[in-house]
């Protein structure tokens, strides 16, 4: 594979992702849901991929290690990192990387801003490189989903059912 451009050369704006959600709950409960394995195991796995490995040393400098298991019973590659900053009920910053050789690291900043009983949860991810962001967010494509890939996948599915 071609050599990666050094991350420092790529502006953060080109390799970040921002997810914002206003929740009808106080910040301290959202913070709690993030800080304890028994809660994390309930919600952190995406649909169909529950978290089945959840080791976390929730303190600044502490490490975590997660893996999910899909419907086929196969565990996904473990991933993990380090809690870089923790401000109770306000902010959690952690690094995250897959345990595969050559995997790049993303840094995720989660902020909890409470106002009138509602909390704005912000998940700001900075990927190591534009290529990494492209892989994770756009499935490997710079310009959205088009590029004929959808058509290709349709063909593959049609072929399998033929």
């Amino acid at each position: 594979m071609p050599a990666k451009t050094p991350a420092a050369a790529e502006p953060v704006a080109d390799r970040e992702s921002l997810i914002i959600r206003v929740m009808d709950a106080p910040a301290h409960l959202l913070f709690e849901a993030y800080s304890k394995p028994e809660h994390m195991m309930k919600w952190f796995g995406p649909k169909g991929y529950p978290l089945t490995l959840c080791e976390m040393d929730f303190r600044p400098g502490g490490r975590f290690r997660f893996a999910m298991t899909g419907a086929d019973g196969q565990q996904t590659p473990p991933f993990g990192g380090q809690y870089l900053e923790i401000i109770p009920n306000q902010k959690i910053v952690y690094s995250n990387t897959f345990e595969a050789p050559g995997s790049e690291t993303m840094v995720v900043t989660v902020t909890f801003a409470e106002k009138a009983g509602q909390t704005t949860l912000t998940i700001h991810t900075v990927f190591a490189s534009v290529a990494m962001k492209t892989l994770h967010v756009n499935g490997g494509y710079e310009n959205g989903m088009g590029c004929g890939l959808d058509q290709l996948l349709d063909l593959v599915i049609t072929m399998e059912h033929a």
């Binding site: 594979m1 992702s17 997810i19 959600r21 929740m23 009808d24 709950a25 106080p26 409960l29 959202l30 709690e32 849901a33 809660h39 309930k42 919600w43 952190f44 796995g45 995406p46 649909k47 996904t76 590659p77 897959f98 595969a100 050789p101 050559g102 995997s103 949860l121 998940i123 991810t125 892989l135 994770h136 967010v137 756009n138 499935g139 490997g140 494509y141 989903m145 590029c147 004929g148 890939l149 058509q151 290709l152 996948l153 063909l155 593959v156 599915i157 049609t158 072929m159 399998e160």
Partner: protein, 121 residues
């Protein structure tokens, strides 16, 4: 090969429009290199180079017949790749749905306890 390494190979292979076009052609059935060269304005060595990338990524296999070595598409890695398309933000939205309902349940419990505490006082 790890699942992540496979995914990287798949996406690297799919990043090129010529390789995607080759895969689309192979989705219709096996083809020899000569047949694959025809629709493209590219030389045979260039097409062969693309085929090698696709073969390394496990997206196609080549037949043993030395003369024709027909190329055949392998769909499994593509399906895995499809499951990952745009997954990061979508997965987060799904997680946050679950987080929201879990935290609402926690909140209800907390309010319930708070009411009990008030009554006790």
């Amino acid at each position: 090969m790890s699942a992540v390494a496979q995914l990287n190979l798949t996406f690297a292979a799919l990043a090129d429009p010529t390789r995607r076009a080759i895969l689309a052609r192979l989705a219709e059935g096996e083809a020899s290199v000569t047949e694959l060269v025809e629709p493209f304005e590219l030389s045979q060595p260039t097409i062969s180079k693309h085929l090698k990338v696709l073969e390394r990524a496990g997206l196609i296999s080549r037949g043993r017949n030395a003369q024709f070595r027909p190329c055949r598409l392998h769909a499994a890695p593509l399906k895995k790749a499809a499951a990952w398309i745009g997954n990061y933000e979508r997965h987060w939205e799904e997680r946050l749905d679950t987080l929201e309902s879990d935290v609402k349940a926690l909140h209800a419990k907390e309010k319930h306890h708070a009411r009990k505490d008030t009554r006790r006082r």
